[in-house]
Each structure stands twice: as C-alpha cells, then as structure tokens.
Amino acid sequence: MATGWADVGVRHASGWESIRLLQFSDGHTYFENAFAQNQSDREALFGQAIALLNVQPRTEGNIQQAQALLESLIEKNAGDTYGLAARFFLARVELMHAEPADRPRAITRLLALADEAPQSVWGELALLKAAPFLLYGNMSEEKRREALHDLEKRGARLTREEIRRPLFLTLAQACFHYDLEPERALSYLMAADVDRVQRWQRRADAYVQIGNLARETGDLALARTYFQKFYDEFPRDSRHYMVGKILQELPGNEEVAP
C-alpha cells in the first residue's frame, strides 16, 4: 500500500534498496543502466544523482555531476515530483555536500520550495530540514522565539505525521538547548506525541521529558500518566527504577506500580 505521496509509480525498487543498504556504487550502476535503456526515465536520472552523492571515494567531480543531473531534471519539468525532489536535493547539496557550503542560500531555497509546494512531500521535507538552521546559531532570543512561533504555525499545517512529528521534536530540542520556558517545550512534545513517536529510544525520552516538564509546570495528572506510560513500556531502561520512585513521591498517588 503506497503512501501515495509522490503520486507516481516507482519502477526501480531494487535500485533504491541497494542505496538504502548503503551500497551506493551498486545503486549508481543500476540507475545508470536503467537510464541508458530509457533516456526519458526521470526516476533513473534522479536515482543516479542520489547515489552519486555518496559513491566512494567522494570527489568534488561526483558532487558537481549530481548537481548537473538534478538541474537537468528541473529544466525538463520543475513541477512534477522529480522536479521538486531535484530542487530539494540541490538545496541539500549546497547545505552539506558542496565545498564550500553556502548555507544561507540553501535555506532560502528550502523555504521557497516549502512555500511553493506546501502539499508535496518535498515541500514538507524542505520545511523540516530548514527548521534547525532557523533555530540554531547565535541570534537574539527574541528572533529565535519569532522563528519558533512561525515554524509552530507552519508545522501544524503539515499533513504527513512522519514529517510533522520530527519538526515538533526539533522545536522541543531547541527549547532545551537554549533554556526556553518549559511550557513551550511541553506543548511541542505533546504535539509530537499526538501520533506515537516511532523510535523506541526517542519515545522513552519523550515520555520522561513530558513527565518532568508537566511536573515542573504543575500539571501533576499529566506527569503521572506519562511517567506511568514510561514505567509500563520500558522496564529495561536505566531510568526505570528512578521513574518508579518519582511515581511514588508524586502527591495524590492512588495504587501505583512499585
């Protein structure tokens, strides 16, 4: 059952599978042959560019070639999923892969993509991947709060939970790293936990964080629910005993685990 995001049939699953298993040169050769057989196969072109970013040994030539391939995808058709994907990865190349990286330009490209194609998966990803750069770095606290507020608004409009959730986790991380008020971090974590954090390590962390934040902001019922959730789901976590103790000490404790 496809997520129906990229609204186009994917024909080269085995090519993508070798890239997923980090066998970049195998992936690259696969897509190169696929493209050779059918010059108009945009998926093969896109696959070639994605693989080239990590074919070893990494050389500047590879990166430039990947950029050229992505640009050619955009020229032919900027609107379809491969056009948008190419714009997203061009910005990523500028952000992380090119030497020297040009972060400001890359971030403006990502935000432009997010504005122009808010519904497409690439637009939503652009927002997610631009968020940390808007929040971190030495800027005034007031400017940081502004960015947080703006991202919070746009985040709420994201349709895909796999992308919305990490965005709110990023906002919460920023609050912790820059000591912003606990209520704000708590709201972001609650928004992230609307549909269950996927990675168990991250989920265990989130439950404990929510419990502590709720306790600090006085919402003891919320604190108890999340500490109890952690206590029941993660017996094998090094904080299990400590959370049990906290649950005991929480005022107004009816019958509780330990």
Partner: protein, 316 residues
Amino acid sequence: MAPQTVSLRKALHEWRLYLIVLPSILFVATFSYYPAISAVYHSFFEWQGGEVKQFIQFTNFRRIWNDQVFWSSFGVVSILIAANILKMVPSILLAVLIHRLRSDKWQYYYRVLVVIPMIVPHLVVLFIWKFFFDPNLGFLNRILDATGLKTVLVHMDSLFGWGVFREGIPIAWLSTPDLIVPSLIIWGFPWIGAVGVLIYLAGLQAIGTEVYEAAELDGATSWQKFKFIEFPLIMTQIRIMLVLLIIGTLQGFGLQLLLLGDSGGAGGRGMVPGLWMFNRGFVAGEFGYACALGMVLFFFILFLTYINNKYVRVDK
C-alpha cells in the same frame, strides 16, 4: 671493491644480467610494493579504514605540521636510537671474543649457543621481562634490594631531588614518567643481538690466522689488534647494522605498545612516532591521518639514510 661500471654498449651485450635480478624485482614489486603504495594513496584521504573515503588533498599533512605529540615523540625516539647504538657494542665484543678463541670446536659451539635464544618465541621472552619489571615480585627490584643498590639510589635521589626513588616503596618502573625511558633502555639486557653477532662473526671469518700471528709478533695489545685488524674489517657490517637499527627504532612500536599501552604510558613519555601512528589509526580510527604520518616518517628516514650513504663513506 666497488662494482665495475659498465658502459651502455657493453650492457646491451650483457643483457642477460638483468634476467638475474628480474625474479627478485617481480616478487617484491607485486607482493610488497602494492600494499605499500595503498598507504601512500590513503594519506591524501579522510578514511576510517572502511569503504567511506573523502579526498582531502593535503589537509592531513597540514594537520601534522602542528601535531605537538608527533614532533615531541621524535625526542624520545632519538634517545632510544642513541641508546640502541651503544647497545651494539656488546654484540661486537661478543663476536670478537668468540672469533679470537683458539679452538675452532668452541667457536662452533658458541655460535650455536648464540642462535638458540632466537628459537624461543617472543611470548616467552616477554613473559620473562614482565616479571623483570614487576614492582612487587619483579627481579629488578629484588636485585636492587639484595645488593643494597636501592639505598644508594634513594640516597642519590635525595641528593639530586629526582623524587623517584623512595625508601620502602617498590620502584614502579613502568608507571613513573621519569623511569619509562630508562626502562625501555634497560630492556633486553645484556643486549646481545644474535643477528648482529652472527653477521659480525661472518665478517671476521675472512681474517686468516696468519694475520693474528703477525700482529702478535710485533707485540700488538688486544686493543690494537681490534683497532687495526678486526674493526676495519667489520666496519661495513657495523654500518649495515647501524642503518637497520636506526630504521627499526624509528618505525618500531611493538615494545612500547606491549609495556606501556597505546597512549605511551605515564606522562606520555614512551610515545614514539610508530606508536603515535598506531594510536591515530587503530584507537582514534583516523587511518588516513596515520598513513600521512607514515609518509612523513618515511621521508625523514629516507633523508637520514641518504646522509648516511653520503657522509659515512667507508674507504675499504
């Protein structure tokens, strides 16, 4: 006598000579050069030993320029080289002593006895030396206590203020910074290199017995016999061993790794270039940087051997 120079024309006639050296070159080129070249190749990469490599031109070499630990490790290694050169003397003396013996039978028996220790695997030798240095059960401390040398050392310590030897406290040879280099030097007492002794004996072999009789006739003392007959003859062998020794000590790190661990022991006093290369490669996982360190060390040794060939010319 130096090899006979051969003009190009004559060389064409004698082409078969190249066939003689060809097999050796083929073997060495394929099975020794090929891995060595991969080290040169990787010194220009940020590489963790796996498939992921990033070509970074000379960043590794720029980093080496201000790598304090690397340059200070040359200080330690030059002390060790100086000590190793002095440690050649016992092997030369032993070879001369054996050579001067009248009876051929004993010369032969001693030759065999010199080689026997080489049969014993390295693990056994290390086991013995670990006992030697052990602060509490060790042999060295026991001898020092028994012979009263310990009290002498303690006295000298208070005199010169080393702050290392203290009454009633066993000397921790390998974990006190000031004692690490001396321990590395003491290691291997009485410093007989079976390889050296054999090579010197082979060199001395060429002196006929009549040469000694002539020297004895005009009343040469044993030192003069050594100075005028034996020493000049084994000069080339000594030069070979000297070159091998310098290269070995500069590259070597096995002893330091086993006795002191990969961080060079207390105060990092045992850190030698080879051990720093091992540490960067296998502990910090920076194989590219370790290869670059290897290249710098290689050029340093090449420079040393070049000088050695140029200025330590031995006229036969």
